[in-house]
């Protein structure tokens, strides 16, 4: 089941290569829809009261190195898998008008989907790393070939080199683990409980650090997000930043509990710095895409804050702070993925229609394009963490969990929330309120296709905000 879900886009990619170029987008959409259907079906079938992995598939692959093909679904990856499977067809729809070398474009996009699905479901380092790298190569070329401006070349290269730097460090780290334990199996590694030198721990951490990203390894992020074609930017912020957080939950928390306890303070400090620094950068930024990139930097760092809280002792508390933090992190990944991808899409639409991306280039758009404005407001409010929307539920859980174990850091992090409110509201105000800018009087509102893309996001944003229980069920039994 999971294998079919993962490989459906690859099949689509092969078909795209074989079929005429005009069919490329339809085939890509079909592949992504197959994956989405399977993902939804699996989540419906998911037994929330059962402990452990479901839908597991395991087969020997390279016995000499102790490598198995091993995939499975549990509370940690259920929501991110759904998120990526949902965004996949939406991204294809968002690229529907793409005319520049569509075959190349949709093949790369489909391969990226497979990389993402694989990363979230693989439980053996060998093919997990295969997918991890597969999710790295297509965006490089998508940015390089289809991005905007001459800056795209350096942005793509920086993105690639930073991520590869982390990946190679992580590879060496896992090879060391393999020497100590003889296995690449994540579950087995967690059960064996290895102790490693700080150097090795840092090596593995580095790969995730870059991917999230956390300061100071975040400098590749804003240029990549800003130059990438909009649909790719949706994936970058919506799903790829979650690869790093997911890595923390899947690798660091279960495999290195001792080290995490030891370095939780440092990790939280860096998360805090990233939160504040991201907010500060966003405050000073008037390029909308970069502003959203920094906002994303800030929001994903809350997840890492929650991960850090998992490493701190929580004895003697009446509530299970760890469970709160962990469920919060998982929900925040989902919530931020929805809102950030949606916002990038909308800013991309603005740019397509007007050629502008400055915060101050617009004004009064709410009267010109009311539907567009409404959607933009809702997603921004979700980002802000307004009650009854996904972002609020998630951040509330994270803050409850972290406050119980590290009140000081949590209070400091709320400063980030304030700053977030300032820059997001400023953005709304400059773009949508005030007198309508003459230049954009004739800007068309959302078309039906564009509406189709944002509606699922809005539905889920509210669903997860009003009834977070439906989504938290999946992660209730994670140890």
């Amino acid at each position: 089941m999971i294998t079919a879900l993962t490989l459906a886009p690859v099949v689509a990619a092969l078909l795209i290569l074989a079929l005429p170029e005009a069919r490329a987008r339809a085939v890509a959409l079909a592949g992504a829809l197959v994956s989405l259907t399977l993902a939804v079906w699996m989540l419906v079938q998911f037994d929330v009261d059962a402990d452990g992995l479901q839908f597991r598939e395991k087969a020997t692959w390279i016995p000499a190195l102790g490598i198995d093909y091993f995939v499975g679904l549990d509370g940690t990856n259920a929501l991110v898998l759904l998120l990526s499977a949902l965004l996949a067809p939406l991204v294809v729809l968002a690229s529907w008008q793409h005319t520049d070398r569509p075959r190349t474009y949709f093949v790369l996009l489909s391969l990226l989907f497979t990389g993402l699905f694989g990363t979230f479901t693989a439980l053996n380092f060998f093919h997990w790393f295969l997918y991890w790298e597969l999710a790295l190569v297509p965006p490089f070329f998508l940015i390089k070939l289809f991005g905007k401006g001459e800056e795209r070349h350096s942005a793509a290269l920086n993105f690639f080199l930073f991520t590869v730097l982390g990946s190679v460090a992580m590879l060496l780290g896992f090879l060391f683990l393999h020497r100590e334990t003889g296995t690449f199996d994540f579950i087995e590694l967690a059960e064996k409980g290895v102790t490693v030198s700080p150097l090795i721990f840092c090596a593995i951490l580095a790969g995730l650090w870059v991917k999230v990203p956390l300061a100071p390894l975040h400098i590749w992020q804003a240029p990549a997000y800003a130059t990438a074609p909009t649909p790719v930017a949706m994936l970058l912020t919506g799903v790829m930043s979650k690869m790093g957080v997911y890595g923390f939950l899947r690798l660091i928390v279960p495999i290195f509990p001792g080290q995490l306890r030891q370095y939780a303070g440092v990790l939280m400090a860096f998360a805090l710095v990233t939160i504040l620094w991201g907010a500060f950068l966003a405050l000073r930024q008037s390029n909308l895409k970069r502003l959203l990139a920094f906002s994303s930097l800030n929001h994903v760092a809350y997840c890492v804050l929650g991960v850090g809280a998992l490493g701190l002792a929580a004895d003697g508390l009446k509530v299970d702070a760890h469970a709160l933090a962990k469920q919060g992190v998982i929900l925040q990944m989902f919530a931020h993925g929805l809102a950030a991808a949606g916002l990038f899409y909308l800013v991309g639409l603005l740019e397509d229609r007007t050629g502008l991306r400055g915060r101050d280039d617009f004004g009064g758009l709410s009267s010109v394009t009311p539907r567009f404005a409404a959607v933009f407001f809702i997603l921004t409010f979700c980002s802000l963490g307004l009650p009854f929307m996904a972002g609020f539920a998630a951040e509330f859980l994270i803050f409850s969990g972290t406050f119980a174990v590290a009140p000081g850091v949590t209070v400091a992090a709320t400063l980030g929330l304030l700053a977030t409110a300032v820059f997001l509201l400023t953005m709304l105000q400059r773009v949508f309120t005030g007198p309508a800018n003459e230049r954009h009087k004739s800007m068309p509102d959302l078309s039906w296709r564009e509406t189709l893309i944002v509606v699922p996001l809005l539905v889920l944003v509210f669903w997860a905000g009003i009834s977070p229980k439906t989504w938290l069920m999946f992660s209730q039994l994670i140890p």
Binding site: A64, L145, H153, L172, L175
Partner: protein
Amino acid sequence: MTALLTIILSFIGALVCGLMPSSAHRRIRWVALAVAAAGLAVSMVCCLNYSGGDFADLVKADWIPSLGIGFITGYDGISLPLLLVTGLVAVCGVLFSWTLETRANQFYAFYFALIGGVYGVFLSLDLFLLFVFYEIAVVPKYFLIAIWGGARRQFAAMKLVLYSFGGSALVLLGMLAVFFLAQDATSGKALETFSLLDLQQHGEVPREAQQWIFPLIFVGFAIMAGMWPFHTWAPTGHVAAPTAASMLLAGVVMKLGAYGCLRVAVGLLPAGAQAWAPWVAVVAIINIVYGALVALKQDDFKYVIGYSSVSHMGFVLLGIATLNLTGMTGAVLQMFSHGVIGALLFALVGTVIYSRTKTRMLDELHRLIDRMPGIAWVFIVASLASMGLPGFSGFISELYVLIGTWESESLSGWIVGGAGLGILLTFGYTLVKIHEAFFRERKTSDPGDAEISYPAMTLPEKIGVAILLGSALLIGLCPWLLTDKISPSLELMLERFPPN
């Protein structure tokens, strides 16, 4: 007897091609393709029939009994992947030379003489016979480069031959030392034989002697493997050679050296290998890092690939230096992997791209991604495979080598760190060169052809690409197809190692 067919067929092919009139180049290329394909088919049959770890398909005949020299051939799991890669590269070399017309008869005569020599080295189980085939392979290389080569071909051909003979001289000295010093392991009687079988199974070279014989033989062979600082023949030779020859040079001839290091130096002189392994590892790291750095600085596309070969061969040497099962399996796997991928890259740069652009200088290439999109993507995928993207054979073989290095007791963790640095640099130069070759606007003045699109790949080129890239992908996903053959043979070799 089956395996011997590869040698016989190649030399017969050389003779037949040589005797055909040069005007019949169309017929010659079909004959050449048939001969190469027959060699590949025989290698595949050998591979499918092989199991266990011992030498199979032995052919033994007396040759010069008074000197203990016999005609002994056979193969085991170490030689099988190399037989396969020779077959694959031979077939694809013909495919990528499909349009060759100048003196095609002589070209293929030399071509198959070289291939026959290569098969001979991989199949020889007698040191003297191995040495003879090793020398046979040198001569055709010279003519292939000197006659059909590009710029500075005389220089490159001569340099290649001098380095080859220099290495051979060292090997010869070492071989003679082994011949005179080897004794029976149990009785201590002098063996006086060149037979690899006898030497390996019940021979032994005194421990102290191994300390100085090992470097002789190892360095002698490693020169052909492109070991730093004796690697400089490789880039110049690769660059000057015609495409089919540079495919053979990178794909197979460099493996001759590595094979010799493994089979003769490590196989016969385990105690020497144990003593020298850390030094070999250090040189291997220099190979990896230095090759990558120099590749980064090159302006000629073919030199980039040439130095990347030097860098990748470093992983073979590192795998050999681990002296454990995992690392050495990785070394043999890397020989196969670099064989197919290196050959593919040389074919793409030397023929597919060059025949269209008429230049290999990176700063004269202009946005090829728009002007030859299909070829550009094939090259990009091939270079990603070479870079070690998971899923292709390059990754799995480097993974084996790195795991082996971690496991090795005699090598320090810093060696792994050096290899990691090398991998990073490899990523770096691959991306930079992809950008320069395919994405960049031309810097020099524009001769007015900027908008011209180039023709797509021809059918023989497509088949060649499919064969080589397909093998890399197949082994990348199903490495056990080869490792199941390689590991048992290496285990037998390692069993004979003295306890450290």
